[in-house]
């Protein structure tokens, strides 16, 4: 897997009003490249899971394809885990990594 820099468009942290919300750790949901999943399928899965427009889904799909991975969202541990489960359910290689 080639070494790559972090994508330019990383979603910002969710806005919390309580101090504990701001202190709660957040995680990046990362999708990794593989030689077998079709590009149209990966785009479809991103649209389905995150409710993204095709353009955004294709941008992340291309990032996965060309750079080896794409940071999809930044979320709380529970939500990040939920997204990883869903992506894995679609047979995409996804992991969560601490954002801090």
């Amino acid at each position: 897997m080639p070494s790559i820099s972090e994508p330019a468009t990383t979603p910002g942290p969710s806005v919390g009003t309580r101090s504990e919300d701001r202190l709660a750790p957040t995680y990046y949901v990362v999708c990794w490249n593989d030689p077998v999943n079709l590009m149209v399928y990966v785009t479809h899965v991103f649209m389905k899971i995150f409710g993204w427009e095709r353009q955004k889904a294709e941008k992340h799909m291309m990032e996965v394809h060309e750079k080896g991975k794409s940071v999809l969202v930044r979320e709380s541990a529970e939500k990040a885990e939920f997204y990883v489960h869903r992506l894995q359910g679609y047979k995409l290689q996804a992991t969560m990594e601490p954002a801090e």
Binding site: P35, L38, Y41, H44, H85, G89, K91, T95, E97
Partner: protein, 153 residues
């Protein structure tokens, strides 16, 4: 293969007799191989408990898909239309079908040794693995058509 009609969350595909037979035989293979367990070696954050839960959840999801696979290839779904067949699914069923096809594709690829280049030289494959190559290619072909025919509409 053509998208004959798309309305109110229902899809109707026009398939040749050969395509209908291939789709039925392919989906019948699900699941191909054992569920490959997820090991989040790329992330230090994934604890053993999380991996266990993830694998349990994926195994349960695969069981659900297995039930749906049987339903998706019921003969009643493939109505005779001229020299071919009209295959009807709801949007939800089509989504499950895509997941089943992709599962077949990915697991066949794993059984082939996870080659970096999926357009491999088949003459180098042992005889017993040729079927997985066929499954992988066929599943990818159907996936591509189901997705792009929808987009073209």
């Amino acid at each position: 293969m053509k998208l004959a009609r798309q309305s109110a969350g229902r899809f109707q595909y026009q398939l040749s007799e050969e395509e209908a037979q291939s789709l039925g035989l392919l989906v019948e293979q699900f699941p191909v191989g054992e569920h490959s367990r997820v090991k989040n070696s790329k992330a230090d954050t994934a604890k053993d408990e999380r991996e266990k839960l993830l694998n349990e959840s994926l195994a349960a999801h695969r069981k659900e898909l297995r039930l749906m696979a049987g339903d998706l290839i019921r003969p009643e779904r493939f109505k005779t239309l001229g020299a071919g067949r009209l295959f009807s699914v709801t949007a939800e069923e089509r989504e499950a079908l895509l997941q089943i096809l992709n599962d077949i594709r990915v697991e066949s690829w794993r059984l082939l040794g996870e080659p970096e280049n999926v357009d491999m030289d088949v003459s180098s494959l042992p005889k017993e693995k040729l079927r997985y190559y066929v499954f992988m290619c066929l599943a990818g072909d159907f996936e591509f058509h189901f997705l792009t025919l929808q987009d073209a509409k």
